[in-house]
Amino acid sequence: MSLIGDILLVVGCAFIALGSLGLLRMPDVFNRLQAGTKAATLGTLAVLLGIGFNHPGWWAKLVVIAGFVLFTNPVGSSSIARAARKAGIKPRVLARKIGTDG
């Protein structure tokens, strides 16, 4: 049981480390947000699940934290992306801008 929990901890922390590596390697704000948000969210969820396996008595509060992270993290990163765009940071777009009316 606690072996599964430890493995989940390692997997979660590995995703967090990969996301931070993406944060460092990606070329502009929007790509960095993509890397940071997705990896940190899944990494945190995996860590919380792992702790849930190690301490079965704590599941309720872990579920609250997990739900909270799942709800707020994308909202936070969307608001950063929107702010960056309004502040005049141009996304590095290689393809033509598409789908807009004029």
Partner: protein
């Protein structure tokens, strides 16, 4: 509070993540880049606080993680609004 080998590996990976994000926080050419790094660090810290609860075997740290996550989210949105400014 002895850690198993796997937990030590997880800890090392977590520290790597924090170090890389901090590097982006210091390097970040624009304020938005620094905000992305700060937001990611906040989420990593939430996970780290939950990990502390596990290491110290003390569920109080879970409440700390929950409140920290809430405040970090509010802070992120507030900074995003400040960066956005009044350009309608």
């Amino acid at each position: 509070m002895t850690l198993t080998t796997l937990q030590l590996i997880a800890l090392a990976l977590l520290v790597t993540g924090i170090a890389l994000s901090t590097l982006r926080l210091l390097l970040g050419p624009t304020p938005a880049d620094r905000m992305v790094a700060a937001d990611t660090l906040a989420v990593i810290t939430t996970a780290g606080l939950a990990g502390l609860a596990s290491v110290f075997d003390n569920p109080v740290y879970l409440d700390v993680a929950l409140v920290y996550g809430t405040l970090a989210f509010v802070g992120t949105v507030a900074f995003a609004r400040a960066l956005e400014g009044n350009r309608e």
